[in-house]
């Protein structure tokens, strides 16, 4: 199997390399970011270790 080409690593996943540059990069999204304060507060209350404890049997 051929070795996978290494992609540039950024701290912000899914940001195009030319994002915000002056080479005709992506425009501001047409859809407003929807996250509300209430949703963020709920996210803060989520048990941060629940995924570590989550174990499943293999499915199909």
């Amino acid at each position: 199997m051929p070795e996978r080409k290494t992609q540039p690593i950024t701290d912000q996943p899914w940001t195009k390399p030319n994002d915000g540059g002056d080479e005709g990069g992506p425009r501001a999204p047409d859809v407003e970011r929807p996250t509300t304060r209430e949703l963020l507060e709920r996210m803060k209350r989520v048990d941060p270790r629940q995924a570590r404890r989550y174990r499943q049997r293999s499915g199909e």
Binding site: K5, P13, P29, T35, L39, R52, Q56, R57, S58
Partner: protein, 505 residues
């Protein structure tokens, strides 16, 4: 759509104070807490039969799972029959609800309309969640159900698509024609995942990828589903006339919460199958489809380049565009549903190219990433600081509780596009689509003494005799919608209807 289509979802299950080894017994109880139905008939199942014309000797199992199984056997008595194992039942809406390897699983009835299929997929979520609630009330154990595909410890479970495909389309042509499409459709059908699992684990520097399932495929095509999973499953169980039909069983898709993503995933796949049946082929040949699906899923630059068999590279978006154009050429103007699909497919590909963030109200992977980014910004933190916490938040996105699940919160506040209504989903919990053989199932279950049922067969006790109704023949050669049947149809009407469809083949 121009073919019978269905969706099967294995749900992730968490029960307070229950070890993974004992999860199967609890999953059975969850299913038994759901609606009653008619026992499943296993007579027509043949999981070892391969589409390529041979019979496999066995199915591979997952080593981690074998370990759990060994401990489980030493702890508790094991089920002795398939019915004890799966607590399988067919519901009045024509669906199948059962336990599969520790997961409540729901298979929608066969649908011809994309909108019916969306409503039935959503109805399945509600049925599974309500069963889990009743289990919780009965046992006093807290329970969570997730519509996702991974436990973040290398174990995956699926969301399978089924499409009826003409048998006269050679399997090699089907395979080569579909592969570049399936590998690249995760651009819009991926549900998004925090981190990486398996041999390609790069979680030290990759924090989010497009697909939940892309890490778990090792082969292109095989009959296996539990280990060394293939992109295309070759199980040959048409549940229809074997001489005319294959059932294409795709196991490479993610479980979507977004109705829009589900619609595109299923609708575009049905369109591509139509182009292949019409004689079109793949626009390109990929050098390594397994590597390509991982590469696309993990490409945080959003360039999504894939390597072709001639070692040239091409944007995955362009491959999708080639398929879209072929479908446009053949099917534009066929009906409203097709036109909607062709239009939205093109819109999504353009939005992905210009700025994927525009799709935060339509695609799961974008909506979830956006939610996590908002959280990190609010906390003034970075993606790499606490992967466990991000995964815990991700689980909340997939939670089926309509009050608690983050996806459902986004939908409720109008941040996710919705294609079904509450009334349609509620109706789908109890009623089958009117225009497929699933309606015959509903009709028989509600009016006659049905002893067992499957996709292709119903066993009914009628006038002290056991009568087997062959629903395999209720798929006619032209795939015409089922002739309208009155709700008060007699048993003889049903038998006549099936005979008529058989004659029309």
């Amino acid at each position: 759509m121009d073919r019978l289509t269905g969706l099967e979802t294995e749900y992730g299950l968490w029960v307070d104070r229950i070890d993974v080894v004992d999860l199967m017994a609890e999953a059975r109880q969850v299913v038994q807490s759901g609606p009653a139905g008619v026992p499943w008939d296993y007579e027509q199942e043949s999981p070892l039969q391969d589409l390529r014309g041979f019979r496999a000797s066995h199915l591979k199992t997952n080593p981690t799972d074998d370990h759990y199984e060994q401990i489980s056997r030493s702890r508790t008595p094991q089920p002795r029959t398939p019915h004890e194992e799966h607590v399988d039942r067919v519901l009045t809406n024509g669906a199948r609800f059962y336990h599969d390897h520790g997961h409540p699983e729901y298979s929608t009835p066969e649908c011809l309309s994309l909108w019916d299929l969306l409503a039935h997929d959503r109805a399945g979520e509600r049925i599974v969640w309500e069963a889990a609630q009743r289990y919780q009330q009965r046992t006093g154990r807290a329970v969570a159900v997730y519509k996702n595909n991974t436990d973040y410890h290398g174990i995956s479970y699926g969301c399978h698509e089924n499409y009826l495909v003409r048998r006269d389309l050679p399997f090699d042509h089907l395979l080569s024609g579909l592969l570049p499409f399936l590998v690249t459709r995760i651009l819009y059908a991926g549900a998004g995942k925090v981190g990486v699992e398996g041999p390609a684990d790069k979680s030290d520097h990759l924090f989010y990828q497009l697909s939940q399932r892309a890490d778990f495929f090792d082969e292109i095509a095989s009959v296996d589903t539990l280990h060394h999973r293939p992109l295309i499953n070759t199980r040959d169980e048409p549940h229809a006339d074997r001489r005319l039909w294959r059932r294409l069983h795709l196991i490479c898709g993610d479980a979507n919460l977004s109705e829009y993503a589900t619609a595109l995933k299923l609708g575009t796949t049905a369109l591509v199958l139509g182009t292949l049946e019409a004689g079109y082929g793949a626009p390109v040949e990929l050098k390594d489809p397994i590597e390509a699906i991982r590469q696309i899923s993990q490409d945080s630059t959003c360039r999504w380049l894939v390597t072709l068999s001639d070692d040239k590279t091409m944007p995955a978006l362009d491959i999708q565009r080639a398929y879209q154009l072929a479908a446009q050429e053949l099917f534009a103007g066929r009906d409203d549903e097709t036109d909607w699909l062709l239009r939205e497919w093109a819109v999504v590909l353009n939005d992905l190219e210009e700025d994927p963030r525009r799709l935060r109200d339509r695609l799961d992977w974008v909506a979830k990433r956006d939610l996590l980014e908002s959280f990190l910004e609010d906390e003034n933190r970075n993606w790499h600081e606490d992967l466990d916490q991000l995964r815990s938040l991700e689980l909340e996105y997939h939670h089926l509780d309509p009050e608690r699940g983050l996806f459902f919160s986004l939908q409720r506040q109008g941040s996710m596009q919705r294609l079904t209504s509450d009334a349609q989903v509620e109706e789908a919990k109890y009623s089958a689509p009117r225009n497929t053989r699933a309606y015959l199932r509903e009709l028989c279950l509600s009016r006659f003494d049905v002893k067992s049922a499957s996709w292709g067969q119903l066993t009914v006790k009628h006038r002290r005799r056991m009568v087997k109704l062959d629903l395999g023949h209720a798929v006619n050669g032209e795939l015409e919608p089922l002739k309208e049947m009155p709700a008060d149809a007699s048993f003889e009407d049903v038998v006549e209807s099936i005979a008529e469809m058989q004659a029309r083949r």
